[in-house]
């Protein structure tokens, strides 16, 4: 078990997300930074689909009630094990009653904590990803998260890797044209590919951008949207939808971010710059 001593600003259990239930209005959910989450599982020799804890702004505190191995990836918030600084992207053996906490932000926005074998909370519709009304386990103070007994007989030569610095520093977000991109005029298309900054409305549902685009294109009939869809609101603000977004929306869908672009933006914070880079299909 892992006990949540303090949930910090927000933390949740996430895996790859929920697929096959969008027709009932069930959002995909799942880890926001797939690059970091997959790395955390890979370093522990977990399955790619194993659930981990996504910690926004690394303010949480966790106590391990049994022996295990852990690995932290994503944003660096000066993680500490029993008060002693530990490294990112490294596997650590954990003794029962150890406490994981965090300190000052170095870079990024979301930390991933993987444990050997993955978090074992209940699967709902094929996924452990938290979503209100779908899964029960909220990561509040005192929550107990089941984990598997430690596997010691396996080869313990866990590797350590360097995370790509570019993942956290680049402003470029590769994307494709969205279904309504062609409704934008040349000037709007040009402006869309200049730098934008992230407003303080940013979370797992969506990231709203600060600068406006002149918008004269009309709303559309409510239509499907995906994580990574960039919507243009009537007031000219761009909203980048994230993993917890609804399955349908009525604003024009002007761009569609690639998976790596979604992962990159999930590590950005208010005020950070971003720039869309249009790629070709194929």
């Amino acid at each position: 078990m892992i006990e949540v001593l303090h949930p910090g600003i927000y933390c949740s259990i996430q895996d790859q997300g929920r697929f096959g239930y969008a027709k009932m209005g069930v959002p995909q959910a799942g880890y926001a930074d797939s690059y970091a989450a997959k790395m955390a599982n890979a370093l522990l020799k977990n399955h790619e689909k194993d659930a981990l804890i996504e910690i926004t702004f690394g303010q949480g505190k966790f106590k391990f009630k049994s022996d295990t191995y852990i690995c932290l990836t994503g944003g660096d918030f000066s993680p500490k094990l029993n008060g002693k600084l530990i490294k990112m992207q490294s596997v650590y053996p954990i003794k029962k009653d150890s406490v994981l906490s965090f300190g000052k932000r170095v870079y990024g926005a979301r930390v991933y904590l993987s444990v050997q074998g993955g978090i074992q909370t209940e699967k709902v519709y094929g996924s452990r990803s938290y979503f209100e009304g779908i899964t029960q386990q909220k990561l509040v103070k005192g929550a107990m998260l089941p984990i598997l007994p430690i596997q010691k007989d396996t080869d313990n030569s866990f590797s350590r890797v360097r995370a790509s610095e570019k993942h956290f520093t680049t402003i470029y977000l590769p994307c494709l044209k969205g279904p309504e991109f062609s409704k934008l005029n040349n000037e709007q298309q040009r402006k869309l590919l200049t730098p934008f900054s992230i407003s303080d409305h940013n979370n797992r549902v969506g990231y709203r951008l600060k600068e406006s685009l002149e918008n004269n294109i009309s709303s559309i009939l409510t239509s499907p949207v995906l994580p990574g869809t960039v919507q243009l609101t009537p007031s000219g603000k761009c909203i980048i939808l994230m993993q917890d977004c609804q399955v349908t929306g009525g604003y024009p869908r002007i761009l569609q971010l690639s998976e790596i672009a979604i992962a990159r933006i999930s590590q950005k914070i208010t005020g950070d710059k971003i720039q869309f880079i249009l790629e070709d299909h194929s």
Partner: protein, 239 residues
């Protein structure tokens, strides 16, 4: 009936198929039928249905989009047969007591009619379920009487109770969970529109119909108890 469809790539691993941009029963039935025909394709990860579009998400990035699109076109064109799913008319109890229908009196004032008129107009017709979106179990319903079209509230409420029945513009619907919301609230249903523990979490499907049945406040609490004890069976009729 066959429509002129457009096929677009949406991201690297999804195809968006669009029907003419209208809200119509013929279009949604055609989308539902098409979605059922492609259901068996292994490489499909998920599908999303909306008024005039169908999004097909594939397991892997699409590298041969021409081939996939021509396959989909073939399935659409060739299908003289219709895969009919059973469609139902669901009887949904709603209590229009003003303690639940907190905007009823204001609407009656604006529309210069009585609260009873509003209830009559809302219950005398049935509504088509176009699709489910916004929240798990939120039904997009079509068929609201013209006289009940009311703009959304300029200041959305921070909290609208689960089960609340509302009107927003030309749409009506039931909030499946407690949430914030800008619709005018006219009543409350004791039913659970998204029950994660039920074998079918969302009883209604696109293409079904909904009939609201007015019940008094005593029946509301009676039904609510039965729903909690999992004893309540929603009345339905095969269409």
């Amino acid at each position: 009936m066959k429509f002129q469809l457009t096929y677009k790539l949406f991201g690297r691993s999804a195809i968006l198929i669009e029907w003419p941009a209208n809200i119509s029963q013929e279009i949604i039935q055609d989308i539902i039928s098409f979605e059922r025909k492609i259901k068996e394709i292994d490489s499909i990860l998920d599908t999303i249905i909306a008024y005039n579009s169908l999004l097909i998400r594939y397991q892997n990035p699409i590298t041969t989009n021409e081939i996939i699109i021509s396959q989909l076109k073939k399935i659409y064109e060739a299908s003289s047969y219709l895969i009919k799913q059973d469609q139902f008319l669901w009887h949904i109890p709603v209590c229009y007591d003003v303690s639940f229908g907190i905007d009823l009196e204001e609407i009656a004032n604006k529309k210069k009619c009585s609260v009873a008129d509003i209830i009559r107009l809302h219950t005398e017709t049935d509504y088509l379920v176009y699709f489910i979106g916004f929240q798990p179990g939120f039904l997009y319903l079509g068929g609201l009487h013209q006289n009940l079209h009311i703009p959304r509230k300029s200041n959305p409420r921070v909290r609208v109770d689960m089960g609340s029945v509302g009107i927003g513009g030309s749409q009506t619907g039931v909030y499946p969970q407690d949430s914030s919301g800008g619709w005018n609230i006219i009543g409350k249903s004791p039913l659970n529109f998204f029950d994660i523990n039920a074998s079918e979490s969302c009883f209604a499907k696109p293409g079904d119909r909904i009939q609201f049945i007015a019940v008094d406040i005593h029946s509301f609490y009676q039904i609510e108890r039965e729903v909690i004890n999992q004893e309540f069976i929603i009345k339905k009729r095969l269409l």
